[in-house]
Amino acid sequence: MVDGFRPADLQEALEFRARHPSIPIAGGTDLMVQKARGFGLKPDFNKPLLFIGHLRKLRQISVRDGNIHIGAGVLLSELIINDKISEALKMAVRQMASPPSRNLATIGGNICNASPAGDTLPYLYAVDAKLILKSVSSERIIHIGKFITDPKQNTLEHDELLTEIIIPNKIFNVSYYKKVGQRKGMSLTKASFQGLADIKNSNVLDIRIAFGSVAPIIVRSREIEASIIGKPVSEINAAVPEILKKYATLIRPIDDARSSAAYRKRVSLRLLEDFLSKLS
């Protein structure tokens, strides 16, 4: 069995993907820990590794038809310094891991890892990001919500790679991201919250609300958002308790090593309340 392959370009990577069962590896910051076997030992993989972190095609950030296209292999540290990336996404990325791991970790890895605690996910759900999944013979574009199906589960086919993330061209003049974790800048999140809004003349033209870590997948409700859109901010401020109540039924956190369910729920709703109170 081959132990790994370093393709020269994306085409070669996809050809390898089509011919061999393989595990794509970008930065390796998730995989190397998940497959670790302890001190001084090399991680154990059951399939050959396909190295994709170096592929040029996956490392570009460009604007096409007004939408931002982010290559799956773009590093978290590159997102933070790129002027095409919105302040809202930067805010979330700055709170991820630590500088030395942000110099390794990729946005594509964060998405494909499909953890309900993935810090780029609430933003990507909130802006309706789309993903380009490529194989040698096909290309499909799907909404991120259709890609991640369960914790740690995505709909990537065995011959596909995630190549690009498309962020629709849309301005939000209020953005808010907070995560609650054990230690600043490290350990995975206990609860996270992304709020985005477009407010004009004290009216809510658009609002997006997404919660991480509080359910098997990211929580977002278009229905509740629609009930807020188009209303004056004063009306929304008065309706905060009612809005919190609606979201409370959707937030179903679990107890785990990181936190208790009750704490997660309380904190998440408080973050939402804080965001709504900042609209003006």
Partner: protein, 156 residues
């Protein structure tokens, strides 16, 4: 897999399983023992080295990813002028006690000062947020980094 890379300014060609951790290759095959294993999970920063001048956790890197890259450890960084300034400043500020975390912290400091030669307190704290130290309580390390930035003006 055959991997070609530059290690401490010297070209190396190795035949390895690409899933091996860079940390183990550096420690076991090249005997570069300044690189420490604290947690093996990216949380402590004891294994931090420079890859193309940027701080990275060597415990998280599969060697398949280092093809064509330049890896620098303390063993060669200590010969530079910049290291001497960091060393002096750390000693003066009391930034080093047991020393286990120090190589990783020096690497993160070098990476920070290359990007930002005049960092403020918060920027230093952020840059070192991936390096744990059980001894100093961090304030002395922050002080050491600041001192190095001032003393080493023009070096970064």
């Amino acid at each position: 897999m055959k991997i070609e890379f530059v290690l401490n300014d010297k070209k190396q060609v190795i035949q390895v399983d690409p899933a091996s951790r860079l940390l183990d290759i550096l420690r076991d095959d090249f005997e570069l023992t300044s690189v420490k294993e604290g947690c093996g999970e990216g949380e402590c920063g004891a294994c931090v080295v420079l890859m193309d001048d940027k701080a990275v956790n060597s415990c998280l890197i599969p060697v398949g990813n280092i093809e064509g890259r330049h890896i620098v450890t303390m063993e060669s960084f200590r010969k530079t002028e910049r290291y001497k300034v960091i060393e002096e400043s750390f000693l003066e500020a009391g930034s080093v006690q047991c020393g286990f975390c120090t190589p990783g912290i020096v690497m993160s400091t070098e990476s920070l000062l290359r990007e930002n030669p005049k960092p403020g307190d918060n920027e230093i704290r952020d840059a070192l947020s991936g390096n744990l130290c059980r001894c100093t309580g961090y304030n002395m390390i922050i002080k050491g980094v600041k001192l190095a930035a001032t003393r080493g003006k023009g070096l970064w």
